[in-house]
């Protein structure tokens, strides 16, 4: 499906979705409680068949966090970027690791670097940092007086 077709089909599913223009691929902004149902739909529906989650990350916009999911379909070769805006003070969202297993590790990474809590994640532990580490390193307000590079 092309960008336009994807946009139209997604609008028919739920008219709450907003779309960001520009960029290579279609960006869809989803309320955080609608993510899980949309993801299930995108994965299971044969017209979408977004079976490959190739990037999962988070962006700190200082006022809020945005989860970014890059999806592609190996069958149809179309791409979609799903974004979820989270509350910066208490970021939480449903896990997608039961749909795409790769999300398990990627979410663990986001959890410890951004402090996003993933509901129903099977094993939400620290992956990279030590257990006693304080703070969320990839957030913009993180300050480390020792190890930071400042140019």
């Amino acid at each position: 499906m092309t960008k336009e077709e994807l946009k139209n089909t997604l609008t028919t599913i739920n008219n709450q979705f907003t779309f960001e223009d520009g960029g290579e691929w279609l960006n869809v902004l989803v309320p955080y409680n609608a993510l899980k149902s949309l993801a299930t739909h995108l994965f299971a529906e044969p017209v979408f068949n977004f079976n490959y989650l190739f990037c999962l990350t988070c962006v700190d916009w200082r006022t809020h966090l945005t989860m970014v999911y890059h999806l592609t379909s190996l069958q149809w070769q179309h791409n979609l970027v799903v974004k979820v805006i989270l509350n910066r003070d208490k970021p939480e969202v449903d896990t997608l690791s039961d749909i795409w297993k790769t999300a398990e590790f990627l979410e663990r990474e986001v959890f410890e670097l951004f402090g996003v809590h993933f509901h129903h994640h099977p094993d939400l532990r620290r992956l990279i940092l030590t257990d006693d580490f304080k703070g969320w390193p990839l957030r913009k307000d993180f300050e480390d007086p020792v190890n930071m590079i400042k140019l």
């Binding site: 960029g23 190739f54 990037c55 970014v68 890059h70 297993k101 790769t102 590790f105 390193p137 140019l151």
Partner: protein, 371 residues
């Protein structure tokens, strides 16, 4: 006499493979639950070489951050640089001169061969054969010398810059590459004789570390790992960049899904790389090696994503720009990270020896996983 340390309440045996262990080729730490010698569960613990390159890049300019990325997957530094350069170019919307594109693809493929060479040697060493390691380094050395002449460095080349390549190729580059390719074709046959056909090696590899196509997709595996499970995912074919759409090559796909299939895919890829190089080496057009770009690069506000095929799989560079001289947020989607996440699925139920064979064919580079 002594208390039994490191067992779970159920009496399973837990061993720590790494962070210092010969088979992990780096500081990967795996906590393995064993029952006898059979693996019940593998938990990777990462971060021993985590330098937070993503955070570092946020304070580096678009010209500077490319050099840091050489240190991610140091075995395919060229391809990492290439990905970043392409991503910045996408934001700037500059057209790269054809000559630069040819050079980039040529160096990418040479890097791929060098990386697969090292993998081949290290993998053979993992299953207990020492000699192939030296054979692999013999050929890798030739590539490194070619790289050194043209790029000035052997491992972290930092040769690709936004807009093209940093300098023109060395005058002897084409001739040396052609000579290398001539010799190299025979060497692949030698590899097949020494390792591929060996009955012990095949027994160690066949049916080991099986990854089904569904799992390969679900775990986000890419590169040879996914292609060995029959998943066509070569970025060079699906989303061609630079001159990959102008060259003829096959996407090597095996359906076995086991370690031997992964092995065959990589051997096949070396041959395909040779094929690509042969098509391009004589056809490098004259012209500029770099497009004109401003000294201080400012990317327009927006998000840019570029994926390339490294030797290990699909590398994604995701740049979020606020319009400044440094990226607001940068994310590297590293192939090794996702491939590693499938390790538990692959090695469960096997022996420790199988784990080593599986890890060997995953071709893990730890700085790439940790970033």
């Amino acid at each position: 006499m002594h208390e039994v340390v490191g067992t779970t309440p159920k009496g399973d045996f837990i061993i720590n493979v790494g962070p210092q262990h010969p088979a992990t080729h780096g500081v990967l730490h795996l906590v393995i639950t064993l029952e006898g010698e059979t693996i019940k569960k593998i938990e990777p613990h990462l971060g021993y070489i985590h330098r937070s390159i993503e955070k570092m890049c946020e304070s580096l300019t678009y010209r500077q951050f490319i050099y840091v990325t050489s240190r991610m997957d140091y075995l395919s530094a060229h391809i990492n640089n290439h990905a970043c350069a392409l991503c910045v170019e996408k934001g700037l919307q500059v057209d790269v001169p054809l000559r630069a594109q040819y050079i980039r693809v040529l160096l990418d493929e040479l890097t791929r061969i060098a990386s697969h060479e090292l993998w081949w040697g290290a993998m053979a060493m993992d299953v207990g054969a020492f000699t192939p390691f030296f054979y692999a380094f013999r050929e890798r050395e030739t590539i490194n010398e070619i790289m050194e002449e043209t790029c000035g460095a052997r491992l972290t080349m930092n040769y690709m810059v936004p807009g093209g390549v940093m300098a023109d190729i060395h005058p002897a580059f084409q001739q040396k590459v052609k000579k290398f390719i001539q010799q190299y074709k025979k060497k692949i046959d030698e590899y097949n004789e020494l390792v591929t056909g060996n009955i012990i090696f095949q027994n160690r590899m066949k049916g080991v570390g099986y990854l089904s196509p569904e799992n390969a997709i679900s775990y986000g595996c890419s590169g040879p790992v996914a292609r060995a499970s029959g998943v066509a995912c070569d970025v060079r074919k699906r989303y061609p960049y630079d001159v990959y759409n102008q060259v003829q090559f096959d996407e090597v796909i095996e359906t076995g899904g086991d370690s031997f299939a992964r092995y065959l895919v990589r051997i096949g890829e070396m041959q395909q790389s040779v094929r690509i190089i042969e098509q391009l080496i004589d056809a490098i057009p004259q012209g500029d090696f770099q497009a004109k770009t401003k000294a201080v690069i400012k990317l327009p506000k927006g998000e840019f994503y570029q994926r390339v095929e490294t030797a290990r799989g699909e590398l994604g560079v995701y740049i979020v720009s606020e319009g400044g001289t440094t990226p607001y947020r940068i994310k590297f989607r590293s192939p090794g990270f996702c491939n590693l996440s499938a390790l538990n699925e692959m090695a469960k139920g096997g022996k420790i020896g199988d784990l080593v064979a599986t890890m060997g064919t995953l071709d893990l580079v730890i700085p790439d996983i940790d970033r």
